[in-house]
């Protein structure tokens, strides 16, 4: 049987994104014989996704609103470059139905679900209604926009909140990334939470509709990777656990969801396929669920796009999801590879874990740390994949997402994958900015993680950086002193080690005669040669 990929599905692909995902799509383009075209902002003129493309078009200033979010400019770039396909990546315009429609209207293929499906599923309230209609258990809550500014309806919504149960969450219908989300513990907090949540949602998404959802706690976040062709055939190719989050954004993802039985897997895959099929979903998408302590799955929402964490599913299933996206978009039915992967998706034979490395300080509540990278070494070796688009000496712009790399490992089973993750994290070297590496290292070594004690509240409940940072600080201070030029180690005559300064240099020969020359002292001298102005 002739491979459907014998001929490139598209000639020229405009990638409407930046960073590692743009590079990820460029790589798929290269492997499929398609010419990649990048877009960029003024802050990204020297970015890797620009260098790696055949052509690149400047969109505008650094601010996303003036560059990567400008539908008109991205579309103009696609036209100018004669692209016959546009891949949106994730984030930015990926789930803007208006963008998908504009691309479709321009006669260019949008690599993702149809604008109709994006519109239907991007509205979380609509998605909740769709899921409920086909009998998929939905997190208890409301199904229509809550009245926000109508005092006459407050009594009614408070009554509904009472019925749902507390604590509950106010969520944005157009939401994502926790924006517009408010946690409500007492009923009297509800009206204010509705107003502030709605206001934030309106600012972030241009849509202030909010609804109520019971807080399932403790809960694990489990999501199902879906692929659907234009003939309406939708399959699940595996699920992921993304419970470790901070501020409702994922930090660690793994596939398959650990500690879940084959039977539970079949159940959640089936629920996801049912909801996606009725919604008319095509291409790649993800259905998100909460898994409660009783083992029940509750539908949350559908993300009608490629996910950040798609890589772990690729490592377990053996699929190239971006490649499949292109084939589906070109009108091919689900490939034999996809069907084969779907058939065994409930009985995976590998385990993969991803760590998102962020430019954030885990000792200061994950505050962003944009800046210039000093040295940059990523792990390698068996079972390791790194998706990144940054290099030594490059700047992390403050305008964009703080994610700087995705470190993935895979192995035959979870215990081995965890050990491999520990090993891979030890190989990471980033200087110049603080990253979330210490968080990932501690998590990968924690008994809770090993014991699959995962929940969306994990970071809030377990993360305490103080002890580990203090230990590291003490080592840093002592190493700095011991390796300092001119410092005398124990047992060395003081005369050999005048305090720092040019004077110390005159004693160099005498120092060689010092008692018990040790390797560390010699190394300290070597490294200290250029330390002091001469």
């Amino acid at each position: 049987m002739a491979s459907p990929a014998a001929k490139p599905p598209f000639r020229r692909v405009l990638i409407a994104n930046r960073g590692e995902i743009a590079l990820r799509v460029i790589r798929a383009c290269r492997e499929m014989g398609m010419s990649p075209v990048s877009v960029y902002s003024e802050a990204d003129a020297e970015a890797q996704h620009v260098r790696a493309a055949d052509d690149a078009v400047l969109l505008g200033p650094a601010s996303p609103a003036e560059s990567y979010l400008r539908i008109d400019r991205v579309l103009a770039a696609a036209r100018q470059m004669c692209a016959d396909a546009v891949h949106p990546g994730y984030g930015f315009l990926a789930e803007r139905a208006e963008f998908a429609r504009a691309v479709e209207d321009a006669g260019i293929t949008f690599i993702g679900p149809s604008s109709r499906a994006i519109s239907a599923l991007g509205d979380k309230l609509a998605a909740r209604r769709v899921a409920r209609e086909v009998g998929v258990p939905v997190v208890p809550g409301t199904f229509d926009p809550a009245p926000v500014y109508r005092p006459d309806d407050v009594a009614d919504i408070v009554e509904q909140a009472r019925a749902i149960g507390l604590p509950l969450l106010v969520k944005a219908s157009a939401g994502g990334g926790g924006r517009g989300m408010r946690r409500v513990e007492r009923l009297e907090e509800l009206p204010a939470a509705l107003i502030s949540g709605s206001r934030e949602a309106a600012a972030a998404f241009g849509d202030g509709a909010v609804y109520l959802e019971r807080e399932v706690r403790p809960a694990r976040h489990v999501e199902v990777q879906l692929l659907g062709d234009n003939a309406g055939h939708v399959v699940a190719v595996g699920e992921r656990d993304c419970s470790i989050q901070r501020r409702h954004q994922k930090l660690i993802e793994e596939a398959p969801a650990p500690g879940v039985t084959v039977e539970q897997r079949r159940v959640v895959h089936g629920l996801a396929v049912r909801a996606a099929t009725v919604a008319g979903l095509t291409n790649a998408a993800t259905a998100e669920f909460l898994l409660d302590p009783e083992g029940r799955f509750w539908f949350l929402e559908v993300n009608a796009r490629l996910q950040v964490e798609h890589g772990v599913t690729e490592l377990v299933s053996g699929l190239d999801l971006v490649r499949e996206q292109f084939l589906i978009a070109a009108g091919h039915p689900l490939s034999d590879e996809v069907l084969a992967a779907a058939a065994v998706a409930a009985e995976p034979v590998r385990h993969a874990i991803e760590v998102r490395l962020l430019a954030e300080d885990p000792a200061r509540g994950f505050t962003p740390t944009p800046g210039r990278i000093g040295s940059w070494t990523m792990p390698a070796g068996p079972g390791v994949r790194v998706d990144a688009a940054i290099d030594a000496g490059e700047r992390i712009p403050p305008e964009y997402d703080p994610m700087i790399a995705k470190l993935m490992v895979w192995a035959a089973d979870r215990p081995r994958a965890v050990r491999r993750l520990q090993r891979a994290l030890d190989e990471v070297e980033v200087t110049g900015i603080q990253t979330t590496l210490p968080f990932a290292r501690l998590l990968a070594r924690s008994p809770a993680f090993e014991a699959i004690d995962l929940s969306t509240g994990w970071v809030a409940e377990h993360w305490d950086p103080r002890g580990d940072r203090d230990r590291a600080r003490d080592i840093a201070l002592r190493a700095a002193a011991v390796l300092h030029e001119g410092h005398a180690p124990a047992g060395r005559p003081a005369a050999d080690a005048a305090p720092d300064g040019p004077g110390a240099r005159a004693n160099e020969p005498g120092r060689e005669r010092g008692s018990e020359p040790s390797a560390w002292a010699a190394a300290g001298r070597r490294s200290g040669v250029d330390r002091w102005p001469r």
Partner: protein
């Protein structure tokens, strides 16, 4: 506090004491972080399993060894050696200098602006470099915080100020001269 006495003088570290003071740069300091003073008899060097110009491996009792990444050293305006050090992913910028000079500086700093007439004090160089200006003459009255000397180091002009009010008793240096760390520059009585 700013008053000088014979007992205060004993508080100063001996001139040949090589003890180092290491503290975190404000950029990476958190509440509760305190400076470290490494004395010459500190046995910690033994914990250093190996090191080169950019990396070190430090043994920890009961723990896996810690991987230490060492950045280049630069000398700041303060005359201290500054260095970025990353330990197990935690990033620190440290300032390293001699404990003796740190004490001297603290002493000078504690007298500044308090308007208290201190005792006789020797002003020492806290940074090596070239003396580019002497702004006072022997016998001049100086006010606390008044600039008395300028030392150029690392292409930067570093002002040396009087730690407290007094009369310039003696000037030991002249413009154009190279000064070394810790050298007596002038005496205010």
């Amino acid at each position: 506090m700013a008053e000088m006495s014979a007992t205060d003088a004993a508080d100063l570290v001996a001139p040949d004491d090589p003890s180092l003071r290491v503290e975190l740069d404000p950029a990476t300091v958190l509440e509760g972080d305190t400076p470290l003073v490494l004395r010459p008899d500190d046995p910690w060097g033994a914990a250093l399993r190996r090191s080169d110009a950019t990396h070190a491996l430090v043994g920890q009792p009961g723990n896996e060894p810690a991987q230490v990444i060492l950045g280049p050293v630069s000398v700041g305006r303060d005359g201290l050696a500054h260095r970025e050090i990353v330990v197990d992913g935690w990033r620190f910028v440290v300032a390293i200098g001699s404990e003796r000079l740190a004490r001297l500086r603290e002493r000078a700093g504690s007298g500044r602006g308090e308007g208290v007439l201190g005792g006789r004090i020797e002003l020492r160089a806290v940074i090596p470099g070239r003396l580019v200006a002497v702004s006072v003459a022997v016998g001049d009255d100086v006010a606390a915080g008044q600039q008395v000397l300028v030392i150029e180091a690392m292409k930067m002009q570093n002002e040396v100020r009087a730690p407290h009010a007094g009369v310039v008793e003696r000037i030991d240096v002249a413009p154009g001269q190279t000064v070394e760390l810790g050298m007596v520059l002038l005496v205010i009585a």
